[in-house]
Assembly symmetry: C2
Homo-oligomer: 201 residues x 2
DNA sequence: GTCTATACAAAGATAGAC
DNA sequence: GTCTATCTTTGTATAGAC
């Protein structure tokens, strides 16, 4: 029987929590194992005891985050029972909700991929997108626009504000609160804008 | 009289060129001064001789890049002789041209700002945007949409594809060549999409 | 499983010769 | 201005006691 209850967290879990915080905030290279240990309130040696190395620990966290990030689109991609319109609303809405809770996610994932493109390329569930039902729907609806162009728009309109957030808030152009309000608004605006893009021209 | 001619580059300049390449590709933390020295083909000690420290050198490059990045919008912001429509076309067009030459720029700037938000906040020319002529034009044209929302769209549609580029290319969803072609297309598409967003609803 | 102590490696910075 | 050699600091990993 595990001695861990909901109120006392195992050392292993403490390290993972601290690693999640620091890695996603500062990235791999700028994060010190000593800082993780301190943040977790444990001894530095235990990090290596449980996870063998900084890199192994990082990969664990990274895979978790990639799953989070692509989990929003994944299940919808090939669902033939959902209309294009519904997919758009669901994807952008779910992303905004998820990113409101994890605003640092996109910048973290994208910058780490940039540093090691080939290492993560194979593990990304993106390769299937090209043959997905969503792409088929897009081609039918608007043959003269490459589905990738549309995907860039969907993600750009949804994800980019969260990437800009630190800049906008720090520059005083926006407060945390008004940012969140605007993101809520966008859940209705984005589908409207995307719908216009798919109109026959 | 300087002995430097156009064909032989001064040591100082060699270091700056190497630093530009490595910092923008890997970020501050992951870049080693030894790598910069090697890339520049100079002795490690010379880096400190010319720039005192890694950090000083980095700040120099960073300021350069911020100037590049915001230079595209800056001059247009308060130009009262340019219509809103023209501003949109110019901004997105110029950005796409500039980013086609410097695709790593946005991810570099945004991830470094994320690591040190307050350090760069003051130096960003973004605070003036709120009082700009562009924002005034946007408020007049479409009072029910917050200008920031529009700015997010303009930048999201323009800049985000370049942020996604490594992911898209590495996952095999796109080749370098088709990416560039699509970006050229977007120079006409983006203004069209944005125009639709500013229509009376 | 957890901690102390320490080895080992890498990175940034500098002194001093040329 | 440039180089070699070296110092210091910081970061990662491990050995061994409890």
């Amino acid at each position: 029987m595990k001695k861990t209850t909901s109120s006392d967290i195992s050392t292993e879990e403490k390290i993972k929590i601290a690693a999640r915080t620091l890695f996603t905030k500062k990235g791999y290279a700028a994060t010190r194992t000593r800082d993780i240990a301190e943040e977790a309130g444990i001894n530095l040696a235990l990090l290596n005891y449980y996870f063998r190395s900084k890199e192994k620990l990082f990969e664990l966290i990274m895979m978790e985050k990639i799953t989070n990030f692509f989990g929003v689109v994944g299940p919808l991609l090939n669902d033939t029972s959902v209309t294009l319109e519904q997919k758009i609303v669901t994807i952008s809405g779910n992303y905004i909700d998820m990113l409101n809770d994890n605003p640092e996610l996109p910048l973290f994932i994208l910058s780490e991929i940039r540093m090691n493109p080939d290492q993560f390329a194979t593990r990304l569930p993106l390769s299937q997108v090209g043959a997905s039902h969503l792409f088929k729907q897009l081609r039918e609806k608007k043959p003269d626009l490459h589905p990738i162009q549309f995907l860039m728009n969907l993600l750009g309109l949804t994800v980019f504000p969260f990437i800009m957030k630190p800049v906008l808030v720090q520059s005083g152009l926006l407060t945390e609160k008004t940012f969140e309000e605007q993101m809520v608004q966008r859940k209705e605006l984005i589908p409207k804008w995307l719908r216009a893009m798919l109109k026959k021209s």
